[in-house]
Subunit: 455 residues, 2 copies
Amino acid sequence: MQEVLNYINSNRENYIEELKEFLKIESISSDPEKKSELTRCSEFVKDKFHQMGLDNIQVLNTEGHPIVFAEKIVDPNKPTILIYGHYDVQPVDPLDLWTSPPFQADIRDEKIWARGATDDKGQVFTHFKSIEAFFKTSTELPVNVKFIIEGEEEIGSPSLVKTVAANKDLLKCDAVVISDTSMYDEKTPSITYSLRGLAYFQIEITGPNRDLHSGTFGGAVMNPIQALCDLINGMKDKNGHITIPGFYDDVLKLTKKEREGFKRLKFNEKAYKKDLGVKELFGEKGFTTLERTGARPTFELNGIWGGFTGQGAKTVLPSKAYAKFSMRLVPNQTPKKVEKLIQAYLKKAVPKSVNYKVEALHGGEPALTPIDGFAIQSAARAMKTAFGKEPIFTREGGSIPIVVDFGRILKAPVVLMGFGLSSENLHSPNEHFDLNNFQKGILCSALFMNEFSQA
Amino acid sequence: MQEVLNYINSNRENYIEELKEFLKIESISSDPEKKSELTRCSEFVKDKFHQMGLDNIQVLNTEGHPIVFAEKIVDPNKPTILIYGHYDVQPVDPLDLWTSPPFQADIRDEKIWARGATDDKGQVFTHFKSIEAFFKTSTELPVNVKFIIEGEEEIGSPSLVKTVAANKDLLKCDAVVISDTSMYDEKTPSITYSLRGLAYFQIEITGPNRDLHSGTFGGAVMNPIQALCDLINGMKDKNGHITIPGFYDDVLKLTKKEREGFKRLKFNEKAYKKDLGVKELFGEKGFTTLERTGARPTFELNGIWGGFTGQGAKTVLPSKAYAKFSMRLVPNQTPKKVEKLIQAYLKKAVPKSVNYKVEALHGGEPALTPIDGFAIQSAARAMKTAFGKEPIFTREGGSIPIVVDFGRILKAPVVLMGFGLSSENLHSPNEHFDLNNFQKGILCSALFMNEFSQA
């Protein structure tokens, strides 16, 4: 095993150069114009699998962006891990806020800067490199390994569940490993045992059938922007409580133990506010910031638009207004139920003076994994060795919709072993990935396989 | 006089062709990239003045877009009218909603379709052609005529007041004539004796210093779109009352006589709703639609934007959100006072968790002209002859900021003799001008000069 770790430690520069190539591909899954880039990125993943010497390399689904599979079965009697990740990335706008171009990875301050660096190409790459290290040092893999790497995570994994269900036997495993979450901080590794779910909507409000002159028609009809703002105002109150009727009904309450755990983390609110540039934090009254971002459901506006948005003063009373909004869900909420609540709220709250259309764009169930299983404990031991510090167990605010489905379909524990940081601008300009954590992530992946082989 | 009217009636086709040339110029005053088009349009106006045989043609102000002056003093003992109008136009977006290109005038259904057709190039042109008819028929002009045609009306006439004040003697007159308002309906001419003022603002809300991932940070900070919607919601209630403290304090109440006048107009609400495509109208409770659009102050959102507005679901918690909003004012409100009220409201209502900036983009005082003066009565007689129907006296919802200033600086009554229709899509796609009203407008302008010569 020491030989594997030494090999990893002596190849740091090569890993960075290879990751740069991965990050050059503009695999924005939500942009229909980037379809060929997604295909190119899936080919890149397949090439890597070939180079690593994996077997049975194939594309499992061709309806959406390709889902790439590969495996190495060294011994049917050994435990098997399935590594999931995604090669697609978020859009890059606003482009002018990037210090270096999003698809030309730049190295600064021991970080690699590019779209997808931490979410999720850099994290996926740790597993590619750890497995390669076993082969390169002619060390037998301690476990059987399977990969399933998709290209639609950032748009809600529309093809993945079907694909996993249709390939249950092929994907059979003893644990699923996902590296797509954040560490607690730069030095503190953490294992995420809970993820929030997601219910994402777009609403369109139509007032008059055309844009009107606000002088001639102002005061005669409902302004669709006004109606939209009133509806948004009606979904959250001044104390940060979500006021959509029934929204909290299914929320699993935090246990006393969990709340104490959060308290022990000694969250530095002052530094957090300074980093975000805000004078005051804001959120659901009665809960701490860590509870609100990790363990409580939230409601956020993701975008809004309507009317005249150019320079100067156009006195228009617009015909239409739009918003995108989403809720993070916690156990035992479901996106389906939340959609019903939204529909019921809108049905009642939208005034008759306008029309509306609401569309559910993206949904994912929340997840909660028991922390005393062998897989999760193996991950904890590997992390302690790789990072030199005991990991902490956290709940995370983000959503990986597939976590619930993996557990349900494959009947295997899901280990969320993340090497990113929440400050690494995933989903915003200047995304980056800490290169020390990248390197430690590769070590951790190798150590985890070794630990888990005792299962 | 009959010769003049005959000449006008026999030149209908020529007038349309000439107007088409005027409408080809892309004189969007709010667009810095169209500066040369504004200059070109002012040259077009000067050329017309030359062709008409006017004297003393000059540009009065060169700070903003050119303000063009010309005059014909036929006899110092005759009364003098000053005709004001504007050659600038509104922006054209959204371009894809235009049936024919906005700057290639098209003739359909006895209407001319182009940006600026009714607001205000077509209306200004009626006076050019009526005066030309006197010269072409060697009929002496019954009054002295002055023109002041500007290119910044759609951006709030920032240079005009100063220019009028600085050229008080040059502009001296016995009445100001403006054709930039609407008729009551297609067949019913009307004289507007009251116009609403305008106070237009843009607000910027800043939450965190960068776009954040809504999963990781959702629930921790105030979402700037939420804050913006809450603020907008706080400015108008469900009964359409504006809830900015102090907003109605200076509002001149409608007299019983005025309310009866509105009632007599027999407003067809059903047809109005059908035209606008709405199931229900909406506005200040306790007032009729005509009162609300003509005689009461209003609050409208003109634009809103922030966050992700592309296709699909980007889970961003944005850093910034913006809105443009404006109020139509009635006597005795002032834009300055309203700005103070907005500032006071925001100071109190904006939560500490965000920062804000508000900018006053455009302001104009409301106007009210006594209807028993000789000028306004001359206009009424001219309209009756030209349109074959007694005009009605109306209050109009739109704003022509300069109306108040003309009255104040030049100490002359302002006659609002409009030939447009409120259904002619001024400020929206598919702007047009009824060609019969264009023609009758030319006759009316000539008749007015004849009537007013008796002053």
